[in-house]
Each structure stands twice: as structure tokens, then as C-alpha cells.
Amino acid sequence: MQYKSQAVAKPYFVAAIGLFVGQIVFGLIMGLQYVVGDFLFPALPFNVARMVHTNLLIVWLLFGFMGAAYYMVPEESETELYSPKLALAMFWVFLVAGALTIVGYLFVPYATLAQMTGNDILATMGREFLEQPLLTKIGIVVVALVFLFNISMTMLKGRKTAISMVLLLGLWGLAIFFLFSFYNPHNLVKDKYYWWWVVHLWVEGVWELILGALLAFVLIKVTGVDREVIEKWLYVIITLTLVTGIIGTGHHYYWIGAPEYWQWWGSVFSALEPIPFFAMTIFAFNMVNRRRREHPNKAATLWALGTGVMAFLGAGVWGFLHTLAPVNYYTHGSQITAAHGHMAFYGAYVMVVLTLISYAMPILRGRAANSPKAQVLEMWSFWLMTIAMVFITLFLTAAGILQVWLQRISDTPLGFMATQDQVSLFYWMREAAGVMFMIGLVVYIVSFFVKGDKVAEA
């Protein structure tokens, strides 16, 4: 560790992994509810479980991004963090607020929670992924602003590299577009239109800047390739991402009451969206092939390459599968969407955060890399989780294709629930793959506690 203040990243990473476990537990519960409908009902209705599952995902990724930023920015800026104390204080504020919110979801009826937390003053709750109470939303904004202040001040007093600029731009964009979560017009079409300004412009916009910056940082470290080379490719890739991704928002506007030209604009630009992901994969492999050093942390390199491949498959290929309007007409809101969502989030964001944790955590614990034994275990967890996710995606895709066929294309369409009964075999298989994922996650956590021969000191 080059700078003392980088140490604040550690609690963020630990919290991220902890919440990740929570997310998967609730995912498994939901997977079971898909086939055993009354499992845990009425103690834990599906909508509550789903809210916890998705909100935990968002929050742990945010913890991961923040931890990554606290780790990276001092090293990139070649200076200590502006205020490590503030960073630690915000960690606890965010963790407690997040925990309270989850407790609220689990133990207070949602409508009561809304009343208790000022939803009558400004109604923002009850929209997918933005279910957080008003107070939590305000808390997120405060934490984000303090975090950005801390990071920006650090950068201002130090070296400004392309990687940290891109990261900062992504983080500011994340905060700015989140403000649209406070805009909830009565007009449902407008509500949905601007809802995507948070959701799409996050995951296919500013988050990808963060993704690119994190990946570039780790690649520089593990390959030793010239910063100049990596940074200019970073710029090219994120340009392609935003050129296609911003107008690509249109692929969400086909069937929600927006004008029909979005079917064309959305199709044209989102047809190009796989290109940046493809470029990113090529880039990652190219840099690793041209490496100038053998970094002892093999696991981190594996995660970095995996991010490229899985992001391309999940976001690129599975996104493209159903992004064209004539296809999306049939697949919109089916299990195909769920398949894409799972692999894209895992491939792009889960894996990039794990890449950074994999690289940084050993250093934060005082060594350049974990012992070979621990790394082998970590790589096992990589393959278990990744292959499990591939299976989850394939089974959901199969379920989706069958669902679309039975419910929407066939001459005698089945009702929703009748269709669900027909595809339940795939849901069982998905649940099995989910268990495999959980095992992978347990192996991942165990790898942190495995000792073994020491590798060089950091």
C-alpha cells in the first residue's frame, strides 16, 4: 500500500461482500418462490424479497465503487486522501442507513414504511429499483456528495490522470442522474421515461465509465503495460460506449407510450451497443498478452479478463438478442429480460468490483498477493460463480423463449400463470444453478481466510 489513507477502502470492501451474500440469499429465496409459490408467505412476500435482492445489489456495488475509488484515487493522484475521517464516517452513515432501510423493508408493511418516511410529502417510492424511502434517497445523495467532495478534493491537490478523471466523471454522473429518482410525475409515461434516466443512464452510461476506469487501473497494475497505451484505449472504448449507449436508452421507450420513432432510434443505436463491450474484451486480452511483468496476483488477472468476456456476453450478446424492436415486441417483460439482467449485472459490475477487491484486498492486508493456495481457491470461486451464472442465464433464456412462445406467439395463447406452470422445470434448474452460485460465493469468502506460503511483501 503506497498511501496510508487507502486503508479506508477495506471496510467498504468487507461491507460490499457481506451485502453480496445477503443479495444471493434473497435471490435463492425468490428462486424457490418461483416454483413453490407460497414459500415463506406471508412472512416474506415475493415483492419484498425482490426489493431486498435488487436494492442490496445496488448498495453493495455502490460500496464497491466507493471502496475502489478510495483505494485508487490516492494512488493515481499520488497524494493522501483529502479526509480519511470523512470517508470512514460516511461508511458508517451509509451502512447504518442501508441496514435500517432493509430492516424497514422486512419488518414494516411497505405502505406504512412509506407513510413513516415522508412519502406523502414527495412520493418517490414503489418504482422498480427506486423503492427506497425518501429519507434513504436523501441519505444516498448526501453520502454521494460528501464522497465526491472527498474524492474531488484529493484529485485537485494531486496528479490528474486520465483514469481518475474518467472515474470521477462516472461517479459524478452517477450522483447527478440519481436525482431523477426524485422526479415522479403523475403521468405514467413521463414517470417511466425519466425513470430510465436513472436506470439506463446508470448501467449503460456513467457506470460504464466507472467500470472502464477500474478495469484500466487493474490492467496497468497487473500487466505493467504503459499507462499511455491503456489510457488512450480507455478513452476510445468509453467513447464507443456513450455514443451507442446514450441514444440506446431508446430501446426502453418502444412500448411505454413514447413516440414510435424510438423503435427506430433505439434499435439502430442499441444494435451497436455490443461493439464497445467487444472492444473491451479484446483490449483486456491484448494488454494481458503484452504484459511486461508477471504479477503474483493471478486471481486478479483472471477476474479482469472474466469481466471483459462476461460483460460482452451478458450486456452485449444477451442485450442484442432482444434489443431490436420487432423482437422486443414479443420478449419485452419476459424471462428473457431477466436472463439478460442477471448476466449483464454479474459480468459487468459484480465482476469488476470483485476484480478490484481481488487486486486491492491482499495489498490492504499487507502483501502483494495472496498465497498460491488462497488464489487457487479464489479462482475456483471465479469458475463456480461464473459458470453458475452462465447456467442461470441459459435456463432463464430457455424459460423466456418458451414463455414468449406459449403466451404471446401461439395461436391459442396461454394465460400468464398457466405459462409459468409450463416452464417450471427451467425454474428448478435455475434454482440449482443458484445454489451452485452460492457455493462459489462461500468458496470466495473462504479464500480470504486461507493462509499458506507467503508471497512477497507489498
Binding site: E128, L188, K192, I256, G333
Partner: protein, 141 residues
């Protein structure tokens, strides 16, 4: 092949290209806002519909159902449920939950008043009249 590839050029193109496409997106958004009133059924946004939307939100319906194809995929699409089932069925259905059938997916009991039931039905009626370019493909949603 030899050529020049500089970081400063890549950076300028990133900032320029991003600004360009974001402006284009804003222009299209502006046009969308102009064109919406013809499609979004906003003429029928009565206080009852608005109250119904709030019930929709505060009961977290989106956590199981989809509305115009967005939401969870655990329970049926409700954008067209008004057309599929009609107002009386919707109200009776909500009141009858949960069914308690062993092994079946369950919907919670929300204890909605008659007025609240009317509001949610009004909201679903309003939603069903939004011009969604003929989506969903058939009545089953």
C-alpha cells in the same frame, strides 16, 4: 500500418462525442415531450387516477407484476388487465387475496377500502388507454 494515436485526441473525441450524443438525446427528449399528449392519455389523469397510482406505488405492486412490461416477472402484466378482466373482477380479485392454495404463488392482502379499490381500478383503466404501439401482442399480456 503506421499511424498516429494520441491520448489528447482520444480524450477530445470522448468529451466532444459524449456532449454531442447527449445533446441529441436532449433534442429527442424535447420532441418526445411535445408529442406525448397525443399518446399518453394524460387528458384522463383525474385525481382518482393519481390516487390510484399512489396506491400502486405504496403497495409495491411492481415488485411482482409488470406494468407496460416493466417490473418483476413473477405475476401477470397489468397494463392491459382492465381490458382483460374488467373492473369488477379486479376488485373482487384483490379482496380475495391471498388464495392460500398450497404451493401456488400468493398475493398479499392489502386491506384496501372501497374507495381505494376504485382508485386503483381507475389507474389501471387510465394505463390501459395509453397508446403503447399495440403492445402487448395479445390480451394475455
Amino acid at each position: 500500418m503506421s499511424g498516429t494515436f494520441t491520448k489528447s485526441m482520444a480524450r477530445n473525441i470522448f468529451y466532444g462525442g459524449t456532449a454531442f450524443f447527449f445533446l441529441l438525446f436532449l433534442a429527442l427528449t424535447f420532441d418526445t415531450n411535445q408529442a406525448l399528449p397525443k399518446r399518453d392519455n394524460s387528458a384522463n389523469l383525474t385525481p382518482q387516477v393519481i390516487a390510484g397510482k399512489k396506491i400502486w406505488e405504496t403497495r409495491n405492486c411492481i415488485g411482482c407484476h409488470t406494468l407496460l412490461g416493466e417490473g418483476a416477472y413473477f405475476a401477470p402484466e397489468l397494463g392491459n388487465v382492465y381490458v382483460r378482466r374488467g373492473p369488477d373482477f379486479i376488485k373482487a380479485w384483490i379482496q380475495a387475496q391471498p388464495t392460500g392454495t398450497p404451493g401456488r404463488r400468493q398475493m398479499p392482502q392489502f386491506h384496501l377500502t372501497d374507495e381505494e379499490l376504485d382508485n386503483i381500478v381507475a389507474f389501471l383503466k387510465y394505463t390501459s388507454e395509453i397508446n403503447t404501439a399495440n403492445w402487448p401482442p395479445n390480451i394475455e399480456g
